[in-house]
């Protein structure tokens, strides 16, 4: 429960209002993580927030977090510069079940900041490329200027062994890609999707639309994984803030099978 002090090694200004912090523990004891897990990041004197790990699980020593600057604590974190320190608890939570997709086609559906928690899955799947069938990464953002990791998206597309499609809600001059919400990219994924495993990440409303569009294409609700956002505070299922029906999102999640949480998602009181 006691935060470990980490130091900012690098600060990367992403597109939009997001920043990636590359941090390392001051005591040198790096903790391994799994794709989809999160850390509680503490901006000293301001507050603590849950942030998904956005780096490569096979890269030891450093931890990457991509933070959307939306509140006091995230603003303080986004304002940190190399050499400054922050507190870190974690990693916490149930990760993406990447192995469940072995031997199957995969659709990764990311909206807005949701690409950050899915990026470790992309790293992992590309490192184990032969174990999976067709991999499609579908990414949506409000505007071209809000698309996360554009250089990496380009590099992945150029590899040729992963289908990368991007779309924006609002066209801007110079944008030659798709225009429309992320689910409009689904027809670009060829083939029968009955055996496909879906990974969906973004704001909850986006995940509802995303899961529905996968199911419309024949993907079973139990073959869709989503990463839920809730008000996680202790991260060790003691405080109850992130309780979601029978689940604690901090420990039972944040990654769930859609079939388990779909009846509760959208219930106003939860």
């Amino acid at each position: 429960m006691i935060p470990r002090v980490h130091r900012v090694r690098e600060r990367i200004q992403e597109q939009g209002d997001s920043v990636t912090l590359v941090i390392e523990p001051t005591d040198g004891e790096w903790k391994p993580f799994e794709s989809g897990q999160f850390n509680m990041l503490w901006a000293f004197g301001v507050g603590e927030v849950p942030i998904s790990i956005s780096g490569d699980p096979s890269e030891p020593g450093r931890v990457y977090h991509t933070i959307h600057d939306v509140g006091a604590a995230t603003h303080a974190l986004c304002s940190l510069t190399p050499g400054e320190e922050l507190g870190v608890r974690g990693p916490f939570g149930r990760p993406w079940d990447v192995n469940a997709a072995k031997g199957r086609d995969v659709v990764l559906l990311a909206g807005g900041i949701g690409l950050a928690p899915l990026r470790p899955v992309v790293y992992e799947m590309l490192a184990r490329r032969a174990e999976f069938g067709h991999i499609a990464l579908l990414v949506g953002a409000r505007t071209p200027g809000d698309l996360l990791f554009p250089d990496e998206l380009k590099a992945w597309r150029e590899r040729g062994d992963i289908q990368v499609e991007t779309t924006v809600d609002r066209y801007e001059l110079g944008w030659s890609g798709h225009v429309g919400v992320v689910t409009t990219l689904m027809p670009l994924v060829a083939g029968d999707m009955a055996q496909t495993m879906g990974f969906v990440c973004g704001p909850e409303i986006m995940m509802r639309f995303g899961a529905r569009s996968l199911m419309d294409r024949g993907v079973s609700e139990d073959d869709i994984q989503v990463s839920l956002e809730r008000n996680m505070q202790c991260a060790v299922e003691q405080c109850g803030h992130c309780q979601f029906g029978e689940f604690f999102v901090c420990s039972d999640g944040p990654v769930f099978r859609w079939g388990r949480v779909a009846p509760m998602v959208g219930v106003r009181e939860l």
């Binding site: 959307h68 939306v70 909206g111 807005g112 900041i113 949506g140 953002a141 409000r142 809000d146 779309t167 809600d169 066209y171 030659s176 890609g177 798709h178 225009v179 429309g180 919400v181 992320v182 689910t183 409009t184 027809p187 670009l188 973004g202 704001p203 409303i205 986006m206 639309f209 956002e229």
Partner: protein, 148 residues
Amino acid sequence: MRELLVEHPFFADLDSETLDLLAGCARNERIGAGARILHEGDPANSFYAIREGKIALGSYVPGRGFTTVSTIGAGEVLGWSWLFPPYKWHFDAEAREDVSALSLDGACLRAKCDADPKLGYHLSQRFAKVMEARLGITLALLVDIYHS
């Protein structure tokens, strides 16, 4: 032409007789990148079943030029204003890439639908599904699904 219709998802599972009726109104078209396909206010004489390429839907906005609202591509259809009076386009569309599409003549289809209500029912059902999907997309856009 009938074989090309069968390959397109919009015409999936139609019986042979219906396909023959549609084939009589269809022709294969190639449209170069950058070409204007629909123009707001012009007569809506046809619809397009896209086989390849990308088409941008939008409007010309003074001072901003062509403003894209959405893009559609292979497997999708463009245009339903040919079905409803006054048979005029309500938006613009231009080819973003070289497009290959089946163009179906609106007047020809309307005459056949009047004579054969079964054909009209099939087409109306399919266009209703397209409209439902586009309305869903518009709803997702309006609620700003990327807002955390």
